[in-house]
Amino acid sequence: MNIEREDIHIVVRHSNLTEERIAHALQEKVYNDQTAWYKFLRLLFISLGVGFSVAGIVFFFAYNWGNLNKFTKIGLMESLLIVTTILVLLPKMNSTIRNVILSGASFLVGVLFAVFGQIYQTGANAYDFFLAWTIFVTLWVLVSDFAPLWLLYLVLINITIILYSEQVAYWSAIFVYTVLFVINAIVAISPVFFPAKKIPSWFVNIVTLGAITCATIGISHIIFDKFRPTSLVLILLTALTYALGIWHGLKTKSGFYLSVVLFSLIIISSVFLVEKLGKYDETLFGVLSLFIITSVTFTIKFIISTQKK
């Protein structure tokens, strides 16, 4: 059976088990075994290797060596990219290692465009730099289907949108948060449509947290802003997504979905209270603290009761 640390801790408190027996149980049931260590060490070494090498390359080009002409610079980058891509195509390679190398190569694409920007003075934070980076790693992201690479991809998309709105479009904050929320929420919900795929939960959780943060900040903006019909879009979409999140949380008994959605609602309601009560006096702080305490208490009670069933 599946014995977890918590189970051992509970049995210890109500029995006469000896230290040796508990140590044995922990080793056998909880602690990582040889296979896990081997896997961990392999991943650790290759990630450190690729990570440091890519960082070294980034620093090399950031140094902006005057003696190196632009042809050599771009040529160097391109040949590095070709070498890494060929490495990935080598047949006898573990797929995780292949993906780690491909992730390193995806960073190199960013460096390539940065070098390009350096030579032709397009600026390091121009949105088109991130747009180009995003577009040209798309294929690798799709081919490798590697969660860390997907996360990089999503971060790139988010940055591109934020920079685009700042530098070109001058969108309102509410609109930016609406767009970001929609994109991240779609990715967060997507596992529902691919039930056969094994998507790591840490990835879904990070994206969910990102989407919910966008919604929370966006709606807080709406509360303090004067009412505009367009704001309804974010409110409706958030309501729909949150309902979906709670439904999913109840179905899978996942404390994560329930707690992030409900906690976001608590924050939004608190912001609403602050706006409605207006003055920063005893009433505001009193009502606020009472509200937070009660709502958090009931949230916890609710989550625990759903997990018990």
């Binding site: 040889q34 090399f60 958090v296």
Partner: protein, 355 residues
């Protein structure tokens, strides 16, 4: 957990142990008790909720006019702390947990502010009393969240004491001690939880609280905000690296390295690889947390270890006083070293896997 699961669990321990006796009702009850069986999500939400509510409550007390009386504030703060711990010990129900935690934290805020208006040398007095109060709270072994915050307050007060008295180099002693304690906690889980019921209850909140404090101490060592003498910066590194070497020696058994010669070789190699980080103890400290958490399969610590490790390594290279070209060469050489290490060990690390 359902009854048949509990029976299965007890069967596992019964197997080879004839003298095993247990209180089945108490175990079943423990599984029913909300407070002893909370998921990470619940812990995080009650921590954040408690902090938010305590701030709102603190604001309420401030605008209500008590701000004028230092004595009034410290007395009220004291009452809040004692009252919340008492409620927590007596009731021990989830319904009161968030409320009592927020009163507990607001109590500390009020107590500290009260003393600071009363006294001239206030920092030492505040920190001293915070240390005593948090130690007393811990000895009463309240709920998870209470113990966790007590550990944080205790360590935060010690750090503040060191910094406000300008004994900056004592931070090394403090961080090194924490490194020892955290390592001990991880390696002797079975011993600690079987020694005493109170220790068993405190084990988890204290462990995560100490990890947070240790990483916070390392962050302070890494920042330039305090005038730490550069002559002693290696002290914490030596402790961290020595502990990592010890771990490597211990874990080599799991890795199927049998010969003592090979074990010592691996240890020396580890020390050599880590020695360039001697001037940045934060890196080896984060690595220590990472290794310990992986060993004990402790996910929260593992994630914290990865995040802080990346952060500290980035900061290390950012702070280095070399040209970008030199940094680039150093980074690239490190990268090549690890790739070589990977290629060198890959065969061994894969071939044994199927056994």
């Amino acid at each position: 957990m359902k009854t048949h699961d509990i029976n299965e669990l007890l069967d596992y321990f019964q197997d080879e142990n004839k003298s095993f006796s247990f209180d089945e009702n108490a175990i079943a009850e423990a599984y029913q008790d909300d407070n002893k069986n909370q998921s990470l999500a619940v812990k995080v939400i009650s921590s954040f909720g408690g902090i938010l509510a305590s701030l709102a409550f603190f604001g309420f007390i401030l605008v209500s006019g008590i701000y004028d009386s230092g004595l009034g504030m410290s007395v009220l703060g004291g009452i809040l702390i004692i009252g919340s711990v008492a409620i927590n010990k007596a009731g021990n129900s989830t319904l009161l947990d968030t409320a009592s935690v927020s009163f507990f934290l607001a109590g500390f805020l009020l107590f500290g502010m009260g003393i600071s208006t009363l006294h001239t040398n206030e920092e030492n007095l505040i920190c001293g009393s915070f240390i005593i109060i948090s130690l007393c709270t811990l000895m009463l072994a309240p709920s998870y969240i209470f113990s966790f915050f007590s550990v944080l307050i205790l360590n935060g007060s010690i750090l503040t004491l060191i910094i406000s008295n300008e004994h900056y180099n004592s931070v090394h002693i403090y961080v090194s001690l924490l490194a020892f304690v955290v390592t001990y906690l991880f390696l002797h889980e079975a011993k600690i939880i079987t020694t005493h019921k109170t220790l068993a209850k405190l084990y988890k909140p204290v462990k995560i609280g100490l990890i947070f404090s240790f990483l916070a101490g390392l962050t302070i060592l890494g920042t330039k905000a305090f005038p730490l003498s550069p002559n002693y910066i290696w002290v914490s590194s030596v402790v961290n690296i020595a502990l990592i070497a010890y771990l490597v020696f211990q874990f080599s058994k799991i890795l199927n390295i049998q010969e003592t010669k090979a074990k010592i070789g691996v240890c020396i190699f580890t020390v050599l690889i880590l020695s360039p980080t001697a001037l940045s103890p934060a890196i080896s400290g984060a690595l220590l947390v990472l290794l310990l958490s992986f060993y004990a399969n402790y996910k929260t610590g593992f994630v914290l270890g990865i995040i802080t490790f990346i952060y500290f390594v980035s900061q290390y290279y950012y702070d280095l006083k070399f040209t970008l070209l030199t940094k680039s060469a150093m980074l690239f050489a490190t990268g090549v070293l690890f790739i070589a290490l990977y290629l060198f060990t890959a065969k061994k690390l894969t071939s044994n896997e199927k056994i």
